[in-house]
Symmetry: C2
Subunit: 169 residues, 2 copies
């Protein structure tokens, strides 16, 4: 068995939780930040897709789908392509508004597919390779994969809480 | 590399997020449910520890630590040992109140150690074994492990949102 198989399965569950959550809301609800420090379901899905896209594209040595496949144009957000989502102020987060539910679903799906394709190819001996010396300890390919899967799963749990705050269930 | 290594790493990150979140709060704050449908940080950590404990003990063929190591007595909650946490009503969830922060930290740590010990021993050919026929599709050992890791990670993300709702940051 590949050492990344369980991570692929874990990512599937996060995607399912996001989609199940989104499908209980209309886009006005999904775009709502219930508090300035609680992100919208739209933001959480968009950010998770972009996080996977940017992190895995870097590991993969390919251009992010966000720009190479034109998702930036499809979303047309009032944010630069290199916006640092994870540092977003409430004002920046509030700019992540999407009217087309399918667009959000499709970008998440593209990012998950990119991730699973990469995880289905990466070899064990590549996992220990150091890819980022700017952290202590230096980040290995394995650590970057784990942090990406963890981030997707934890944000999917947050999406459930945002949904409860917005629609009361 | 073991096919469970990345799951162990993912679980470490969930534990770190729970502890970092808890350490920003006093126990009055940690015990607070910000809304009836949003669990307290205490509940989220207790439930994650118990979920890992009960699920992994079953996979492991051992008695849950909750009863076998006397955590039930140490916590002394007004709930039965077989309470179904994941179905808790707001009234039941509100009974999960802990005054001793270290107790909560220690039970989570015991449950994480139990899980990592099990994941460090389980063999690849055991992973596809069906362990629960009551679901469709039937649940394999691998699926139960993945759902446990996913549940821990997603609840750790929820703990961050509960903390923000309770202490405003």
């Amino acid at each position: 068995m590949r050492s990344t198989q369980l991570s692929m399965d874990t990512l599937d569950r996060a995607q399912e939780r996001f989609i199940d959550t989104l499908n209980q809301m209309d886009m006005t609800q999904a775009n709502t930040m219930p508090k300035p420090i609680i992100k919208s379901v739209t933001w959480l899905i968009w950010h998770t897709a972009r996080m996977l896209d940017l992190q895995i594209s870097e590991l993969n040595g390919s251009a992010p789908l966000w720009t190479s496949e034109g998702w930036n144009d499809k979303f047309s957000l009032d944010l630069p392509d290199d916006t640092q989502d994870y540092k977003h102020t409430p004002e920046e987060a509030a700019k992540v508004v999407v009217s087309d539910k399918q667009l959000l679903v499709n970008y998440l799906d593209a990012a998950v597919k990119l991730t699973k394709t990469y995880l289905g190819q990466v070899e064990d001996d590549e996992l220990e390779e150091i890819i980022d010396e700017s952290w202590t300890p230096a980040v290995t390919r394995q650590a970057r994969i784990v942090s990406s899967i963890d981030d997707a799963a934890m944000h999917s749990g947050q999406a459930v809480y945002t949904r409860r705050l917005v629609i009361g269930k």
